[in-house]
C-alpha cells in the first residue's frame, strides 16, 4: 500500500530542491519539532542552502539555573512534596538535580498534569504539595485552572512554584538579532493552538520574517518549511497556519481567559537569553496564597551556569549542538552537563540520540 505520509514528505522535499536557490535559515521554535526532525531523519532531505536551527522551545531547557535551584530548595523543605513533570527531574542545578535529591530522600513526585498534583494534595492533607509550574502557553492554562479549583475547594495544602514562560516576546528578540539573521520561524503547533496567530504579527510586519505554524508529523513539518521558503521567495512574509485542523486564528479563548484570570504578564529569565521583558507570567496578587515563593519565602538566588556549557548559545540558535565543545564527550545523556542534553525535547539530546549518524 502507498504510504501517504511518505509520499507527502518526498513531494515537499522535491519542491524544496526546486525552490531553494540561495541560503535560507529558519528556526524551529518547538522542541517537539526538533525531535521529530531528527527522529525522521528529515535533514537528509534538505537541499543545500537550507538550514534549520533549533530554538528556545524546550521548557525544561529554558528554565533558568536560579529557578532550578529554587525548586531544589523547596524539595528539601520539611513536609513538602514537590510535584513535577518528569523531564525536570534530571536537570542539573548548581549543586544537584531533583533526581539526586530524591535519591537522598527529598519528596519529589512525577506528575503528568497540574490536576494530578492537586489530587495529590487532596490525598495527603498533612503535607503541602508544591507543583512546579513549568512550560509555555500550553501548560500554563492547566496551572491556572488548578489554582482556581484549589480556591473553589479551599484546599490550603497546595501551592505552585510558577516558572511559566510565554513565547512571542522571545521570538521578537531572536528575530531582531543581527548575528542570528534568521529568515523566519517554524512556529510551534501546540502553543499556537492556545495563542492563535495574532501575537506573532509583529514578526513579519516589523522584521520581515516568514512565519508558519506547523503540526508535528514529518509531512506537516516539511509542508511548513516549504511554505516558509515560498514566503521568502515571493517576498510576502506573513503569519500563516499550515496546521488549520488544530490552530484557529483567534486561538483558544477559554485557555486565554484562564491565563488572564490568574496570571499577569511579567519579565522572565531565560537560560542563555537572560531577562526578556514580557516573556513570562506572574501570579496575580489575589492568588498569593497559592504562590510558593510567597508562602515559603523562596526567591531566585543568583546562580552561575556550569563552566563550558553552551546550552544558552544552543537555545538562542547561535551554535548547533555539535558546536559545543562538551557535546558527546563530557556532556552526554548519561552525564548531562546542561539541560539541552537532559530533556527528551532538548536539541542536544536529539542531536546526540539521533544525529550522530551524520558522520557515517
Amino acid at each position: 500500500m502507498i504510504d501517504l505520509h511518505r509520499e507527502r514528505v518526498l513531494a515537499a522535499a522535491a519542491a524544496l530542491r526546486r525552490l531553494v536557490d540561495r541560503p535560507l535559515k529558519f528556526m524551529e521554535v518547538c522542541g517537539t519539532h526538533t525531535v521529530s526532525i531528527y527522529r525522521s531523519g528529515l535533514r537528509a532531505l534538505f537541499p543545500e542552502g537550507l538550514s534549520l536551527v533549533s530554538g528556545p522551545g524546550c521548557p525544561v531547557c529554558v528554565t533558568a539555573q536560579e529557578e532550578i535551584d529554587s525548586l531544589l530548595r523547596l524539595s528539601e523543605m520539611k513536609d513538602i512534596i514537590l510535584a513535577t513533570y518528569g523531564d525536570m527531574l534530571r536537570v542539573p542545578g548548581s549543586s544537584t538535580s531533583l533526581a539526586e535529591a530524591r535519591a537522598h530522600g527529598a519528596s519529589v513526585r512525577v506528575v503528568l498534569s497540574a490536576a494530578d498534583a492537586l489530587r495529590m494534595a487532596r490525598e495527603t492533607p498533612n503535607r503541602t504539595v508544591v507543583f512546579a509550574g513549568v512550560g509555555f502557553e500550553t501548560t500554563a492554562p492547566a496551572t491556572a485552572a488548578v489554582i482556581l479549583q484549589a480556591c473553589r475547594e479551599n484546599i490550603r495544602n497546595f501551592a505552585v512554584l510558577n516558572l511559566h514562560k510565554t513565547v512571542p516576546a522571545v521570538l521578537e528578540t531572536l528575530g531582531a538579532d543581527p548575528e542570528l539573521s534568521l529568515d523566519g520561524f517554524l512556529l510551534p503547533g501546540h502553543v499556537s493552538t492556545i495563542l492563535g496567530l495574532t501575537p506573532y504579527l509583529p514578526l513579519p510586519e516589523k522584521h520581515g520574517l516568514a512565519c508558519v505554524v506547523a503540526g508535528f508529523e514529518p509531512d506537516q513539518i516539511m509542508a511548513g518549511i516549504a511554505l516558509l521558503v515560498l514566503q521568502k521567495k515571493r517576498g510576502i512574509p506573513a503569519v500563516q497556519s499550515a496546521y488549520p485542523e488544530a490552530v484557529r486564528p483567534t486561538g483558544n479563548r477559554q485557555a486565554k481567559r484562564l491565563l488572564e484570570t490568574v496570571f499577569e504578564e511579567a519579565d522572565s529569565i531565560w537560560r542563555g537569553l537572560g531577562k526578556i521583558p514580557r516573556s513570562g507570567l506572574k501570579l496575580q496578587d489575589a492568588f498569593s496564597a497559592y504562590d510558593a515563593r510567597v508562602r515559603f519565602g523562596i526567591s531566585d538566588l543568583p546562580a552561575r551556569e556550569t563552566a563550558g556549557c553552551r546550552c544558552g548559545d544552543v537555545l538562542a540558535g547561535r551554535i548547533q549542538p555539535f558546536g559545543c565543545p562538551l557535546f558527546a564527550n563530557r556532556c552526554t545523556p548519561e552525564t548531562p552537563v546542561g539541560p539541552c542534553m537532559v530533556s527528551s525535547e532538548g536539541s542536544c539530546s536529539a542531536a546526540y540520540r539521533y544525529g550522530r549518524g551524520d558522520r557515517f
Binding site: 521548557p59 518528569g86 535519591a103 552526554t332 549518524g357
Partner: protein
Amino acid sequence: MKPISLSQGSGGRQSQRLVGAILEATGTKPDLPLEDCALLGEGLAMTIDGYTVSPLAFPGGHIGKLAVCGTVNDLACRGARPLFLALSVIAEEGFDENELLGYLRDAAGICSRIGLRIVTGDTKVVPKGQLDGLILTTCGIGKSTRAAPLGIPSIQEGDSLLLTGPIGLHGATIAALRYGLESEGLVSDCAPLWETIEPLLAFDGLRAMRDCTRGGLATVLCEWAEASGLGMEIDESAVFVPSPVASVCDLLGFDPFHLACEGCMLLAVSPEETKPVLEALRASRYGKDAAIIGIVTENHPGWVTLNTRFGGSRILDMPVGEILPRIC
C-alpha cells in the same frame, strides 16, 4: 554514600554501569559478552530474574505470568528447553493471600503447559511498608541439545535481523496504567516463547536470539552491536508498532523502540536460512507477525542505524535513565 538511582534500574546504559560495578566488586568474571542466561557446559543453561511491576496485574498478564515467561524466554534465547524452576516469593505484610495464590496458579499453569517443573522455592514476608506488595524471583534451568552455537559471538556480517512480533506492547500498557491514560486496545504481549522458538532450533543458521524486555528493542540491538563490533541497520517501516503503542508514545514523548516487550524476540539468522526461519516463525504460536527488520553490516561497527520511512537515516540508541514523560 552513593545512592543508587531509579535510572540504574531502567535497562539501558546506566543499568549496564551498575552491573559492571557489581561484577567488579564480586570479582565475577563471566563469559563475555554478557547474556541474560548462562551456558554451563553440556547443554545446561541457567538464568535468574527478579520481578517487580506496578500495578501487579495489567491487561494481558500479571506479575506471576511475567515471572515465568521472563525466565522461560531467557532460557529459550539460548536454545535451552526450560526444565526446572525455583520460585521465591517476598510479600508485604497485609498482602492478600488469595491474590498471591491466583497469580501463582496462573504461573503454574504456564509451567505445566510447556513442561517446566517448579522444584523448589522460598517465601518471606516483610513488615508493611518495606516493599510495594510483592516481589517474585525465578531461577530457571534448561537444557539445549543444539550443536551449533547460539549467542552474540555467532552473529556475522550479512545476517538478517528478524523480530517475532510487534514492539512496545508491554511497556505502553504499563505506562498507560501508571499515568492514567486511556488504555483501550492495549494488551501486554507477555507470553512464554518456548513454543515459538523450539521449531527454529533445527536451523544451524540461527545465530543469536534475545527477548526485548527492559530497555526495548533498541537496547538489544545496541548491546549486540557493541558486543559484536558489528553494525546493525534497521528498516523503520518493517518494525510493527501497533497504533495504541504509537499513541501512548506520542502523548508521553516515548520512543517505541525503548519500551519493554515481554513476548517479542530479536533473532539473527544467516542469509541462507532467513526465509525458512521466517516461515517457521510465522507458523508458530505468537509468531504470526514475524518480520525481517534489518541486517548486520560491517559499516558503522558498534552502532545501530535506523533508515526512516522518509529516506533519512538516524542513530538508534539505548534509553538513558528512567523513561520519564515529557512536559507537553
